[in-house]
Amino acid sequence: MIDSITEDSPLPVRAVKLLARYTVGENAEGIVQEIMAMTEDMTGGQDATVQLMASTILSREGNVVDAMKCCHTGLSLELNAMMVNLLCMIDRPELAEKQAKMMQAVDDDSTVVQLACAWANVASGGKKIQDASYIYQELGDKYMWTPKLHNGSAVCFMLMGAYDDAERELLEAIGKDAKNAETLANLATCAAHLGKSSSRFINAIKALGVPSEALAKIEGFEGDFARAAAAAANA
């Protein structure tokens, strides 16, 4: 499918191709320039998919400010959901919640709106985590249970301190997709809290060979520990 996208393809489809090229590890700088040129174009500036792809690529590059500028147009519910995601990323749950409420006013039944509400609820914490858990349960029962929904539900259980339930959800998720890096990362977290060894899950993520935020963090911590240990040994 991706191979078949050419220069003659419609603009939104070409924008998705840029995301595809980005995910396979092509020159990130060049892709960012290309997608920004698309968004600055008159047609691309008014296209929700182009804006969404630009926002996705920029957020993965760590450029949250420009990613938010792309979402700011609010051309579609997906762009609004992306904004909720970005607001959660920068630890502004109150704004994420406000955005989610705006989305609910547009279409309460939409799946993307319900997911955005769940993200905002998880970011807010407290009693709202239970609401988020209900949303994941409802979506899973309504459509089908996917690793994404199992992970969402497991995160809610973990935040509520129910690590056994979280592990059960994650085991179901791993049964559906054994190579899901997010599930493995959550299983590692769960194992650590349940007093089990998490090394096999971390090794499994490493074996996947895909970029993982959790793995990057673990490697960062390992580096910090090695430096601290070396400093202590020299002292």
Partner: protein, 190 residues
């Protein structure tokens, strides 16, 4: 026992669903109630031709055979009941073969958002058949491409990748030759 009385609560439910959806400014839901009596015959109440929700009610006739009542009755009620039955069969057949673009598109969208990417791709084919204009086709192509990306099927065109890889190899080879010849020159000087 009248069959039309039996299906009344479900028809009311169908009407309420339609009204509540319309009130919220959402998409208009079309509901069909199908009552299966004693597992062999069906009676239904359709609120529209295209269907969003199908309610199937399995019922057991408690006082005589309801269907035989309607079969032998010459009243207008029985004839109306038969017509409804025929219309519903037609509408169900229509809904299963010609899914409207909205339903098919929402299915693609929903499956994509919950992370069922393979299901989303499956539904794209069904939605494509009913998509009438270019914008709908583009929207479906976008969801299909995004699902493929999420499934890790994002591949750059083979030709491009091959050229890049050949270019990288050629560059590396040239660098190696340069370094090797410099080293060789130094060695021969000594």
């Amino acid at each position: 026992m009248s069959l039309s009385l039996n299906i009344w609560p479900y028809a009311l439910f169908a009407s309420n669903v339609t009204k509540s959806k319309a009130r919220r400014g959402g998409k208009r839901a079309r509901v069909v109630v199908v009552v299966v009596v004693d597992g062999d015959r069906a009676q239904s109440s359709a609120s529209d031709v295209d269907v969003d929700v199908i309610v199937i009610v399995f019922a057991r006739a408690s006082s005589g055979n309801v269907m035989s009542h309607s079969r032998h009755s010459t009243t207008s009620e029985a004839r109306a009941s038969f017509r409804t039955q025929r219309r519903t069969r037609a509408s169900l057949a229509h809904s299963s073969s010609n899914m409207s673009i909205n339903e098919a598109f929402f299915a693609v969208e929903n499956y994509f958002h919950i992370g069922a990417y393979e299901k989303a791709i499956e539904h794209v084919a069904a939605a494509r058949a009913s998509a009438s204009n270019g914008a709908e086709q583009v929207a479906l192509a976008v969801f299909e491409a995004r699902s493929n990306v999420a499934l890790g099927k994002a591949k750059v065109r083979a030709a491009d990748a091959g050229e890049r890889s050949r270019g990288a190899c050629a560059g590396a080879h040239a660098r190696f030759i340069r370094v090797f010849s410099l080293a060789l020159t130094r060695e021969t000087r000594h």
